[in-house]
Subunit: 436 residues, 4 copies
């Protein structure tokens, strides 16, 4: 039995445990920066397997985190997490939104391979209808309005499966493996903080994947690369003006309503870019206090995208100019708070080829005909990939294929759990191929 | 002792009772369409005096009421009102926002004189500091966030004092007196419903007043007329579009954010009017659901004003055109809900002269040098005055003068209660002058 | 015969000469800063009468002039003016838009009285129909598109009549008379330059008038004062951006079209002012070069007004903020060129009373019942009045009444020339009253 | 000598005549719908060769023409064209903008092949510097501001060369050849009128080409297909409102300035489309008449584009909604005049292959490695191609390659005339391949 055969056998053997782990994560779904139970249990398991475990300040740079919930919500989550079985040793490191875990396996000389597994849930109300399998089989989220509707419960599970098998192959690996369990991928809020802490420095190879739907009769289990994910920046804008009685002395006000309206129209009117796709959206506005008062404050949720990081930067610079000038024009101020960001990403062809070869020749797994999927959304794994690539390393973002019951972010999302051992095999196989 | 002397003596004699009544109303302040305790007690007292009493459907035309709170809030108020001493016979008529009372005194042949007394409180948090007299003397509002900060507690009290004295003079009156206790003046929501019910039809004379601050050393007790109150219309606008993923398929949305921004800028850009003052305000906007979703719904609180009813109509027509076209432009719809309205008002010079003469010659009360106050705000008593005037009758809106502790609508508002017997004298004196 | 009788007799006697002079000015109508023939002939006549004459740099401060035509147009006018009988001695001082004349009569000790007579025509095409009296009687403008449609031909004539009579009364005057013949009143471009040159410094009394229509049967010849003229500022705005191919690389442009549209909507949305009337208008826009090019330049004609100088300043400051920010928002620039300005004005009550007394008692001329006319337009005589008033002097802007054939600025405007001797009498009478 | 060799020999032989013809067209450059000299001479030559010639109403459907100059300009061109050697027999058919020619060669049974050659010049001022070859060699445009800066002089010349050779091969062809000399391609104004007249009905094969720059050392003479040309629609919008005095009675106006500003901002804010590229531009606006007048009329030049005809339609529908609602909102009207339009286009792969084979194997001409060029602009040949393709036919739009001295539409544009015989060979070779 060669090492590839070992990987396959081990992964197939752990299938039921993977399913159970995934369902446990699903049931106790935790939103970004709140993954205290999830993170602490991952840390516990990695430690028990023998991994060097990084938590708390070692994972994310505190001030690089974006879109962190308020203290009160974080504290409430902490208390509840403990009552739901969070690991009491590791949980305290995660207080105040310092979630995420990195497991390190050092096997002597050789390159460093890092993998990213994202672990957070979404703000979605899970379907309570019995026809929704998680509800029927009683692993639906116990947290109303928080749901693993994007498969990150599976991603976290895959990471633990990979950890287990690699530890068993330790003697045959030459180099270092970093398994990064990332918080707050939804809203692209977490990856930058991990990169800013230096955790991707010195990494030569990088792998990540996302569970993706496929046709019923498609035998392929993986698309080995991705490109075309849009770079994005997300801001909250806060306008401040001066209130006044709208009938009595309108001239005494500094009316944020005019600033907001001017900003909205001009944001959508940012020029099209000949270099590629752009997007901008003002998704939410709350402005003013009462009918007969000149509005003195407003908040605005903004999302910007560009086909490349440069195009996104063009849009972002223009948007900032619009927001600032719209406010200034009416004697108001506008403060921006960065709520998320991601670069565009492109998998390296040579690593794509390696994944294809390992899967087809070594693991005997069917690979999709296309090398890369085009990803119309945004993914902050791009921060990690870009960091590796700018150091001369290789990175790929794969699609692990399975059947899903509904599109991502839908309240009826679920997936065929056979994807779990398959994904474990692919990660382990490629890592072994690199480090053998 | 002539009848004027009788009035003066009676009013002076009831001073303490007026103060007690005002403080009771103040303590149990009730917002517009919620004045169940207030209305039911007024009805009780009028009935006990011998008045013909109209309540419920007899007062306001149900569908002409504007800005009525939701059923749940109305029901809650009803229950609490009963526990606070609302009259159990009359309260049931007032359920569901059918508040207000009319007391009628028929004294044979002769003209009809109507008086308006408004009875509702405001959405203001009363000052809890002991330096605020109502707090110190323990008649501050027991309802957190509801306060008589505009003197309507005094207005209701004056009406009851007038009722009492007129009943005692019944033999000397020739004609009919209608005492209208109006709900929901704040937000100009109630008067139209009373007019629409025909309660001002056939009225030849109309009197109303508002408590107003004066200089410390000004002996005057009344300004006998008003003009220049702005006509106004208040709308809530509801925009409906279609949501879509802002990154994935922005073209599938119908974006209310664009409609709202277009409407805001154009509303403020409605032309100035050479005929007089105009005002427009978008005081509050809530739009959209999330950062990465094309916004599909929005609400907007709008207030329009004009120096005359015609100018206000110009502004209103223009605003409707803007709102409709802004929505249509983006494939959205915009529905308007009328939340309040008032005409401009002008007191009749001949009735102003009559008030002056009665006060100075008959009641020996000092009158302000100016005939009329300019009223920069809006008052829906204008509906009643206009109805009387368009039938050929005479109407005036007086200012009864006293010292106040803070501007109207302020949480520290209070007034010198000596205004109460003075106002009672003026109303009774003028009514007697007309009906004697 | 007293001096008032002398004035009346003299003015009546010169009636035909006044008419002839007015018609000569009418025929050779000259627009603002182009009044070379008009100015040079006035200077000639004043000099011939014996006045100390100021011309050229002595009248207007060169850099304070607003809305001066281009060099080429000024040169063309100069050449033509000479061929039309401009005075060859004085005309050279007026080259390059340095028009206007001041005649000074010094009569020893005593106060200084200044009078303003505006002399420029308008950009109006005079009616060529024979039913228009100037056409029928052959004194219509020989300059196509330039017409005395606002009566300044009459004003200049009145000034010369006043000059003539005062010189004849020289022995009976004690003080100084300054007769200011102002260029470029249309567009409110000229008065400030005269004030900035110090020509109103030390003036204690100031008189000016405008020919105004009255009812057929109204005997009054003058309204002795004015108030309520709107303060105003007029700007040309020039936007500069960067062009680009609209299809090929729209992101490379800096689009003035977006800046202009943002500015327009926000300018009209400048808040109403509780202190009084405001106005703003974007009367003309020319923007862009071709359909498929991102527009890189635009010009905009703007007019702002306020009921007081302060309110106009509020509007002006706000407008500048809007223009600057609208341009900056899109990476463009916006330069403003001041094209005209006027303050609000208010006649002094004591001088109004003096005019009334002189007219009614001394000159036996009927005066309008109202003291002051409300002037809804703008007048830059306000600069002169304000300068006199801020030094403690008295000023009034009168309406000299007559029948006109059409509203001012209309191509069929003409007036009953009997107003000319009447106005001469009033100016002379009041000046004598002050200086006797 | 086979027929391909005949074609090559003939084309090489006529090289000097092609150059002379091109330079004659260049010198007498005529803008769209004004190509009277050009059209009449083409008709003359086709007739002399023996072609059946269609002119005037036979070519373009009169009412389908877009962006036709005014009558006066057309008449002036007609007169001048005659003086410049226009053919006196054919020119009269072309009066009033009815330019364009179709030459038909019927060779018995067989398919119909149509070719499009566009013939109009641009509104560009040709460089008068002697370093510009047309200036130096004295064939620069004699019409100031009209220049063949896009190579259509060459296209017309190629068409005549093709006509000549095909007539010589008549015996060897089986089917029909239609040579369409199209007016007004610039601004995409002419093709639709030819299609609407039925001239592409029954056509099975369609060829067209454009002269395009290539690298100095690139031996290729043709790119055999194109795709990705943007669909486009061009409108002039005319806004009509009501003027009023901006100071005196602004409320009486219907202000097009507000309508125009609202339209501009919203046009640029039309949503991005997930299906592909969109563009919109307001390239030129002229609005209003004077500073103190509410603007009552405005014109706007608009250009819309979409990556497909459907996406362009989405943009066009949205733009119309914006324009209509922006006007209506302010009581104004907006009329649209269609000034040009084109579909997107895609060459048929099978015809591309055929061109490649004919060039490489039969004509021994090097073909570019890429099958298709992406064309970022717009071309109304798309109307013809779409008509042929929707009938089941095949069409291709080729790029004939040469060296140019400057980008298209530049005042220094010129090209290496060796492209002319090459293009003639390709057209003739492919037509022979089809009809042999």
């Amino acid at each position: 039995m060669n090492q590839y055969e070992y990987i396959v056998a081990q992964a197939d053997e752990m299938k039921d445990r993977l399913t159970a782990t995934r369902r446990d994560f699903h049931k106790y779904a935790e939103a970004g920066w709140m993954e205290i139970r999830t993170s602490s249990l991952i840390a516990r398991k990695l430690a028990d397997m023998g991994y060097e475990v990084l938590v708390g300040e070692q994972v994310c740079k505190r001030e690089s985190r974006m879109g962190v919930p308020d203290e009160k919500a974080l504290d409430a989550r902490y208390e509840t997490a403990l009552s739901q079985g969070a690991d009491p040793e590791y949980a305290p490191y995660m207080k105040g939104g310092m979630t995420g875990v990195i497991g390190i396996l050092r096997c002597g000389e050789g390159p460093t391979v890092a993998c990213r597994f994202d672990i957070d849930a979404l703000g979605v109300y899970e379907d309570e209808n019995d026809s929704h399998r998680p509800t029927h089989e009683q692993f639906a989220s116990v947290h109303n309005g928080v749901m693993h509707a994007c498969g990150h419960d599976g991603h976290a599970t895959i990471g633990l499966g990979v950890a287990k098998i690699l530890m068993g192959m330790k003697e045959n690996l030459h180099g270092t493996v970093k398994l990064i369990f990332q918080p707050a991928e939804e809203g692209v809020r977490g990856a930058k903080a991990i990169v800013d802490n230096g955790n991707l420095d010195g990494v030569q190879y990088f792998l990540a994947s996302h569970i993706t739907d496929k046709a019923e009769d498609d035998p392929a289990v993986v698309i080995p690369g991705s490109y075309g994910s849009l770079a994005t920046t997300k801001y909250d804008a806060f306008f401040q003006g001066v209130s006044a009685h709208a009938g009595g002395s309108p001239e005494k006000g500094k009316n944020v309503m005019l600033a907001v309206a001017t900003a909205i129209l001009n944001l959508y009117a940012i020029p099209r870019h000949s270099g590629g796709v752009t997007r901008m959206n003002v998704g939410k506005v709350i402005a003013g206090s009462g009918r007969n008062v000149i509005a003195d404050s407003a908040s605005m949720e903004i999302e910007l995208r560009g086909e490349t990081t440069e195009i996104n930067q063009f849009v972002e610079d223009y948007a900032k100019s619009i927001l600032e000038s719209s406010a200034k024009m009416h004697g108001c101020t506008c403060e921006l708070k960065l709520m998320g960001s991601a670069h565009s990403l492109t998998s390296d062809a040579v690593l794509i080829d390696r994944v294809r070869k390992v899967c087809e020749q070594d693991l005997k797994l069917p690979v999709a005909k296309m090398d890369s999927s085009k990803n119309g959304g945004s993914e902050d794994v791009s921060y990690m990939m870009n960091r590796v690539q700018e150091q001369g390393g290789q990175a790929t973002f794969m699609r692990v294929l399975t059947k899903t019951s509904a599109p991502g972010h839908n309240r009826r999302f679920d997936f065929d759990e056979s994807v779990l051992p398959n994904a474990v095999k692919i990660f382990c196989g490629v890592i072994y191929d690199i480090l053998s």
